[in-house]
Structure formats: C-alpha cells, structure tokens
Symmetry: C2
C-alpha cells in the first residue's frame, strides 16, 4: 500500500514545531542545469542540479532524513540507483533516517520492504507513523511503568500500528479484529458499552473503517474524560498509479474529530510533534541535517520550518511545473532528478 | 433516528445566504419572567417569556418555520401541547413549515412520523434535508428535462434520500444497496470502475458508511470532471438520549471532502443554499417570518442571518445556562419554555 502520500492543498496544511528551537532557513540560490520556463506569467526561475553539482551542497550535512515513497521507490518499483546512493552516503559517514507517514507497516514490516527492494536498513533507522503513534503514547505515559491510569488504546487501524503497540507494551483493543455490531438504530447505539480503561483512540489507515467503528470511537472520546485522539497521519489521499488516488488516513481522522468533538494529535509529518521528537531522540542538529522528500506540504515544509536543508527529487508527486509556479523563496534548497544525483550518481 | 441535530462549536459553523437579499435583524428586548443569574462573571441578563407574554411577539409573523427534534418532539416523545400549538397557529391563519436537517426520512416518511405523534402536517409543509438534496439537484439540472448531461447520482445514504430522488425522477446508484468489494489492497482499488454517467455524489446519514464506500465516492469525484458533492447536512453529532451522542452526517461528508479534494454543498440549515431556496419557493417575506428552533448554530443562526424573527424553546439542546453565557446581542428574539407557550398554551 502506497499510503504515506499526496494530499490536496485544501484542508491539509502542514503545521510544525510549535515551541521547538528552530529557525526558518533561507533558500539559497542554486546553479547548474537551467530549466526552461513554460509559462511567462506564473514562472519563477528554478535550477535543477545534477550528479556533478548536487553532492557539494550536502557537504555540511551529517544526517539525511529520507521520505520513502516517491524518493526511494514508487509503489513496488525501486528508483534507479537509490540503493547505490544510500551506500554512498553511508560510505561518507552520514547518518540516515527513513521517515514515512504510511502507517500500514511496522518498523519490522518496513525492514522487510526495504530488503525486498535491495535496500539495507536497520529498524532503528526507520521512523514510520505506526512507530510514531506508539512513541507518542509512550511519551504520554502509556505502556509499562507509565503514569497513565487508563492506558489501553482503542485502535482503528491496521497491522503496522498493532505491531508497534505490541512492541511498546501498550495494550489495545480493536485493530483489524475490532467487531462492532451494525449501528443503524438507536437501540444498538444506546446498548454499546465503553471500555473504561481506554485512554486513547488511535486512528491510522483502516480499510475496515465503518460507521459502526466511528460510533465506537466517538463514544469513547466523548464519554471518557481525558481520552486522547491520536492520528498516525493526516494525509488526504495517495497516488496508487494509473492516475488513481485513494483515500488516506486524513479523512478517517476528520470523521472521528467531527463526530467526537475532540482534536487529533498528528504524530507524523505535517504535525507538530514529530520534528522535536526526532531532534530529542536522535540528537539531530538542524544546521547539519537535510531532508529528502517529494512533497512540499509535509517533507519540504517540515524541513523549512525546522531549519533543515531541503532536497526535492522529481521522482515523486511534485512536478517541475508545480515548482516553477512557486515564488523562489518557497523552492527547496536543492532540486534533483532523483535521489541518486544527490550522491553523485546518474539518475 | 434523531439525526438532524446538535453539533459542536468547533468545525460546525453555520454560514448563510451569501448573495440573498436579507438584512440582519437586531434582537429586541424582551420582558416578563426574569431568569436569575447563576454566574456573576459570564452572565448576560436574559428574559424567558411565558404563555401570557410570548404570543404578542408573533403578531406580525405570517409564516412560522419549525425545527422538529427538540421543538415538537424529543426522539419518539411529543413535547407537551405541541399539537395544540400547531392547531392554534393554523387557526390564526399562519403558514407553517417544518425544516429538519435529518436526512434519514423522506417527506412522506415524515408525514407518517408527524401523524404517529398526533401532528397533522402536509408533505408540502415539510422540508427535510433529504428533500433538499433532491431539490438542489433539480436546481442544478438533474432530473427529467434537466440540462445535466451526466445526471445520475451516486448516493451514500439512507432510504429518505432514495425516496426523494425517486420522487424527483433523478436516477441513482448506491444508497442502501451499494455494494463495494473490500478495498484493502492496491489491486482492488485499481480495478474499481467509475460510472461515467454520475454527475453528483450525495452524502447523507449512512450507517453503511465504510472505507470501501469512501474509495468509491472519491474516485468518482476525482475522475469525473464537474462531478458535484452534495451534503444533506453537516451536523456533527446528535443527542440520542441517556447522555449519549452519535455521529451525524458531518463527519462522513468531511471524510469524502478530504479524500476527494472536492468541497461539499450543504443543502440544509448551516449551509448557504437553503434560506434563499425557501424564500424563492415559498415566497417568504423575512420581516414576517419567524423560526422556532433549539439550536443556536443552525436554527437561530439561519434566522438571524436571514432577518427572521428568532424563537428558542428550551426543550432541546440549548440550555438557559448556555444562553446566559452569551452577549445579549446574540440572544434569540424570544426564549420560551416550550413551543406551546408561543401559542399561548402552558408548557
């Protein structure tokens, strides 16, 4: 499932790093391959670097944060020279992190996916939103030794989040196995019992999402004081190939927010929690950290707000035409044909 | 189903009558039964009229618009003296309209519900949001003789909307019978075919709502140029008794909006279409029209924006305490214990 993905401009604004000690970084002028303008009225000059000119721009970078889909692969297809690029960065002694909004897999599930595509990555280098959900809950006192009196989770989600909750020792109800009877009459709705031990509702990508699940989640949020609502991400929709887009987790979260009256905490790119967490946990220094991502509203926005160096490969959802329509001040620090060029390899 | 109902303040702002020829009406001071203040800091003086003082305030009113749940009944229980109040208004020669955001029933379904509670009402006097959905589509060229080239509707909804579409001669697919296979893998999503004759997706209260339905609705909206998204209402949640609230249609619509990137037209109270439509169709004169409703964000808001006289009976979701916390300028023109008092009858 290609889930951690494209969202519409409307309703999907990324907000980041409220009280974090980051400063915005000015975009720096790039040189090399000039891209011709296609529209005289809406075009801002833009330069795309190549494998000769791009690597120099990462000289000061000690940590690279990679988005996955659209950067390292597209669906089940590896981007040309991506495995070699990662090897080259490792050879240069750079630390690598892989951050994805996709919640359908656990860290372990991603290790298998990376491996199947010829990418050697350790579980600790992977920050999937399924993992983030568990990490956020741990930070809020859930799990072994935690301070939370009601520490069970009600999960509307898939195996990735299930596995991460299990790994973190956080008990949960729901997930793929959640069975709620049909909620098409008042008696059924009135008879439904809340589980008083639930301290958080977690919403991830959930192909079993239903009105009945929405009812069950919303009565817990309404009737249990202090019950948290955690979103693995707020992505609106995802490209799945053939020009088709499919609903992401964002719409499911909005349904739960609307029905319950409770605002969700977004633990993924696009939310305020992730970057301070990464900095705290991995000791990131923003001035020496770069983000490589194909999405302006999560990847590049996260990078810009956090003062990271921003790199956009054109292998994902953001087109040159789209970039050309933006003011130069909004351009990523570096635009390349693919991640390979950042490592000095042909695209 | 008590559906046309309460919504949270957050995310459920009523917006009304964009270009309609209405002017806001100033709230007028009321006299009679004083309500004691309960909090010195947040209280604005408020007066509740009774059956001796309230009727006089409706002397200039020739049309009365009633909300239903919380005004005439609560769930399956009639409000004391409500049938007698309606008879009294009719005796006085006033025209009555019954406007509800609930989409689960058609006009005909409502006639039966009114009748079962001892209320004699004609179908033409009922404006349910299921009816509004069909009326809106007709106004947009759907149905017999209409100008719409793609005039089929994809319905995520219940029998009320099905019946109204049938009544209006608008063909639809979906509704209660909509069967979409499980959408838990990319192949299933890629194999799904859109129906090229669909010109609008209508979302109403839908206890069969599912991720698969969300997929099906969103691909039509994304892949068919000009396909409309119509919401029977945007109500967030509804009181169903025993302190329990259940998800309304609003969250389902937001899920579809988010997944598709298309904004919905809300044809019910809270939206911009309804009041101009009522004025056009029923020849309402705002200066001689009153609205009687229990909700500030739909009923009273609609009345105030449209320049109608506003009456709030305390039999629904808005409490005296809530009203007292508001500035006097936001108070309804008249507050009564129940609709009966507006007609000069005991509450």
């Amino acid at each position: 499932m290609a889930l951690g993905a494209t969202r519409q401009a409307r309703g999907c604004h990324a907000v980041l790093a409220g009280g974090a000690p980051f400063t915005a970084r000015a975009a720096t002028a790039a040189t090399a391959v000039d891209v011709p303008s296609t529209s005289a009225t809406s075009v801002t000059p833009l330069t795309v670097l190549d494998e000769r000119t791009a690597p120099e721009r990462l000289r000061e970078t000690s940590t690279l944060i990679f988005d996955c889909d659209g950067v390292l692969w597209r669906g089940s297809e590896i981007i040309h020279n991506a495995p070699e690029a990662l090897k080259e960065f490792r050879r240069q002694g750079k630390r690598l992190l892989f951050v994805t909004n996709n919640s359908s897999k656990s860290r372990a599930g991603y290790v298998a996916k990376f491996s199947s595509l010829g990418l050697e990555v350790a579980a600790e280098e992977i920050v999937s939103s399924s993992y983030c959900a568990a990490a956020y809950l741990t930070s809020q006192g859930f799990g072994p030794g935690g301070s939370r009196p009601c520490s069970k989770v009600l999960l509307l989600g898939w195996s990735g989040v299930e596995q991460e909750l299990e790994q973190a020792g956080i008990p949960y109800v729901g997930g793929r196995a959640l069975k709620v009877p049909p909620m098409d009459d008042l008696d059924a709705m009135k008879a439904l019992k809340v589980d008083p031990d639930v301290g958080a509702v977690v919403v991830g990508w959930d192909p079993n999402f239903s009105y009945s699940r929405l009812v069950y989640a919303s009565i817990h949020l309404r009737e249990l004081p202090g019950c948290l609502l955690v979103a693995t991400n707020m992505d609106c929709a995802d490209h799945i190939g053939g020009g088709r887009m499919m609903p992401g987790t964002g719409g499911l979260v909005k349904a739960v927010e609307t029905a319950s009256g409770v605002s969700a905490v977004n633990v993924a790119k696009g939310g305020e929690w992730l970057l301070p967490y990464l900095c705290r946990t991995y000791g990131l220094e923003p001035a020496h950290t770069a983000i490589v991502g194909d999405r302006m509203d999560t990847d590049i926005h996260l990078g810009r707000q956090g003062g990271l160096f921003t790199c956009l490969p054109l292998t994902g959802v953001t087109t040159l035409k789209r970039l050309e329509g933006l003011p130069a001040s909004e351009h990523p620090d570096v635009v390349v044909r693919s991640v390979a060029q950042l490592a000095g390899l042909p695209a």
